[in-house]
């Protein structure tokens, strides 16, 4: 239904215009209750989601809050040019892409593996218990999770404790003060928080696989691993493909909270993402034009990627996303 709504964009408004106007008027009168229930909400979403787009004009001006719109100085693409010549921004872009790809790959692999293993547990109570516990971190805020991560990875934290007792390291590793570890720490934090939650959708897909396929494989003498690789995995492939394609649109969404909360002066070169860049230039330094340009860049890339993803999905014969 949604596909229709979105792909047939030009058709959508037709009933309002054209010859059938009188009928529409009587319809509107008949449906005034529905209109009263929805049009104020439409006004609400336009105000809160569409009106701010007007603010994008700031990126093409040398915006000064004290001046009226008519008095602002227009500068074209100056701020965008500055962004792409700015080492700072390029570094931020690198961090964003790197962390987003790491999160994506780690997130997918761990969730699929965990779902496959959970699926093999036959005792319902045990399976339920593990699932409930694995969902727990998903409901904790990033503030709490980064607090836990900081405690766990501290020089006297449990991770260094265990590694020292196993004689894998001689001195505690300063996980949070070494820029080289930061991407890995962020990736691991994401996995810890979301891996259990991300299995839900795969487990649901697995439960809808036809049991006859397993029986047939059994008769053919397939081992447990064979069944996993040749029945379960192909069974959830469409889900994996859809989720992968959907995540392409989030390629510049490396997150903001975890980097902001875990980052510190020592790792800033690895920790800053586009969102932090926007916050820093915009809110903290008052360079609204440059920050808005950074934000626009992110949105435009995201939307473009999403359209590409949608096109790929169509080519692959999967359900379209839009």
């Amino acid at each position: 239904m949604m596909e229709e709504t979105l792909t047939k964009k030009p058709v959508v408004r037709k009933p309002k215009k054209g010859k059938r106007q009188p009928m529409t008027w009587s319809l509107i009168k008949n449906q005034r209750q529905l209109i009263w229930m929805s049009v104020p909400l439409l006004a609400y979403i336009i105000l809160f989601s569409y009106v701010p787009i007007w603010g994008w004009t700031m990126a093409f001006q040398d915006y000064k809050p004290a001046l009226d719109f008519a008095d602002q100085k227009w500068v074209g693409f100056k701020h965008f040019k500055f962004l792409f010549l700015d080492d700072n921004f390029l570094r931020v872009l690198r961090n964003t892409l790197a962390m987003s790809v790491i999160n994506l790959v780690l997130g997918f692999v761990t969730a699929i593996v965990l779902a496959l293993l959970l699926n093999e547990i036959k005792k319902v109570f045990w399976k339920r218990t593990v699932q409930t516990i694995s969902y727990l971190p998903h409901f904790l805020s990033w503030v709490i999770v980064t607090g836990i991560v900081a405690t766990t990875l501290a020089s006297d934290g449990i991770v260094n404790d265990v590694l020292m007792k196993l004689h894998l390291i001689k001195e505690p590793i300063l996980w949070l003060s070494e820029g080289h570890y930061f991407w890995g720490v962020v990736g691991a934090s994401h996995v810890w928080k979301e891996v259990g939650w991300n299995t839900i959708i795969y487990l649901a897909a697995m439960s809808s696989i036809d049991p006859a396929l397993y029986e047939a494989a059994e008769i053919d003498g397939a081992s447990r691993y064979k069944k996993m690789f040749h029945v379960t995995l192909p069974g959830i492939k469409p889900t994996i493909v859809i989720l992968l394609i959907m995540s392409i649109g989030h390629i510049l969404e490396a997150g903001f909270e975890v980097q902001y909360l875990l980052g510190n002066g020592l790792v800033v070169d690895w920790a800053e993402t586009i969102d932090i860049f926007v916050l820093k230039y915009g809110i903290a330094q008052g360079n609204y034009s440059l920050a808005t340009a950074g934000g626009i860049f992110k949105t435009v890339v995201s939307v473009t990627m999403l359209l590409i993803a949608n096109w790929i999905a169509k080519r692959l014969g999967e359900e379209r996303l839009l």
Binding site: M2, L117, T292
Partner: protein, 319 residues
């Protein structure tokens, strides 16, 4: 797979033996591995949290000595007393509760009402309104324009900045609309014949029938509202009385992470002096606040588990 079942050659007996032997050993080996893995997963997930609980119940000056794992050495309730004795945390707790309740109630009511109107096939504005809402899932005006909107609407440094910007979610609307689609249309038709208005049909018939899906969405919305700190940081940080629990926790966290910077330490130390208990340290206060901030959610989510799939699945399939 086929080659394995047909084992030609002179020794079919051996091959059969080999296969049945494999299948006898394999499950045990696999199950052992799987059980060990799951236990590890449970430990890795729970340990940091359990340790935080232990720290929150242990005397702060004792915790600093280290070596505290799964049982408190010097049990005390001082940390919690200090947390609730400190007016800032208690006020922030109340603000967090207020914003969570208000956001959830408004969000559920408005989103369901919208979903109901957009589920009615004969509704003239159904397609344009759906489109306008759905598009908001894919773009975002960004931080700076959003900030200026709040400023222009005079929402900065008010309580309403927590509630108003997120009253309707397009994604949740689609999930609810899809769910309403599974309710027989004859219910609406017969109510209409009985002369019920649209709002009455929505409120008396559709809304109660949506309970399972609304329970899940209410949980998601409530968790989102309870857990957010960024809006307090961005919009209300200059009014302490509007601070939220998560934002207070964030301030405690950043003060302990940059222990060298002066104002941060003063912040943590100020609280311990308020409580006038030397046993309490910034670390133990942080542990106690962490527990206070997570317990309400942890008490609720296990009971909603069976509905999670409904919320996620329906949304991702999008019909």
């Amino acid at each position: 797979m086929g080659n394995q079942t047909i084992t030609p050659g002179p020794v079919p007996a051996a091959a059969t033996y080999k296969r049945s032997g494999k299948s006898r050993i394999e499950p045990t080996l696999f199950h052992t591995f799987n059980t060990v893995f799951m236990i590890l997963l449970v430990v890795v997930t729970l340990y940091p949290f359990l340790n935080t609980i232990v720290v929150s119940f242990n005397a702060g000056n004792d915790t600093i000595r280290g070596g505290l794992y799964l049982w408190p050495r010097q049990f005390t309730l001082q940390n919690y007393k200090a947390v609730f004795a400190s007016g800032t945390i208690y006020d922030a707790f109340l603000i967090s509760v207020a914003r969570t309740v208000l956001s959830t109630v408004l969000n559920i009511f408005l989103t369901t009402m919208l979903a109901y109107t957009l589920s009615r096939r004969e509704y003239v504005f159904r397609k344009p309104i759906t489109l306008i809402f759905v598009l908001t899932m894919y773009f975002n005006a960004g931080l700076i324009p959003g900030y200026f909107l709040m400023k222009d609407l005079h929402l900065i440094n008010t309580f309403w900045v927590y509630v108003l910007p997120s009253m309707i979610s397009a994604f949740n609307m689609i999930v609810i609309r899809t769910y309403i689609g599974t309710i027989p249309e004859s219910l609406v038709e017969s109510a209409k014949i009985d002369g019920a208005g649209e709002f009455k049909i929505f409120w008396r018939i559709i809304f109660p029938l949506c309970k399972p899906v609304l329970a899940t969405i209410a949980l998601f919305v409530a968790v989102g509202a309870w857990n957010s700190w960024f809006d307090a940081f961005l919009f209300t940080s200059s009014r302490q009385e509007l601070s939220t629990l998560q934002y207070e926790l964030m301030k405690l966290l950043s003060s302990s992470m940059n222990a060298n910077s002066n104002p941060a330490v003063a912040n943590g130390a100020g609280m311990t002096q308020d409580a006038a208990v030397s046993m309490v340290t910034p670390l133990s206060i942080r542990a106690a606040v962490t527990i206070v901030a997570s317990v309400p959610i942890l008490l609720v989510y296990p009971f909603m588990q069976k509905y999670f799939v409904v919320g996620l699945n329906v949304g991702s399939v999008k019909e």
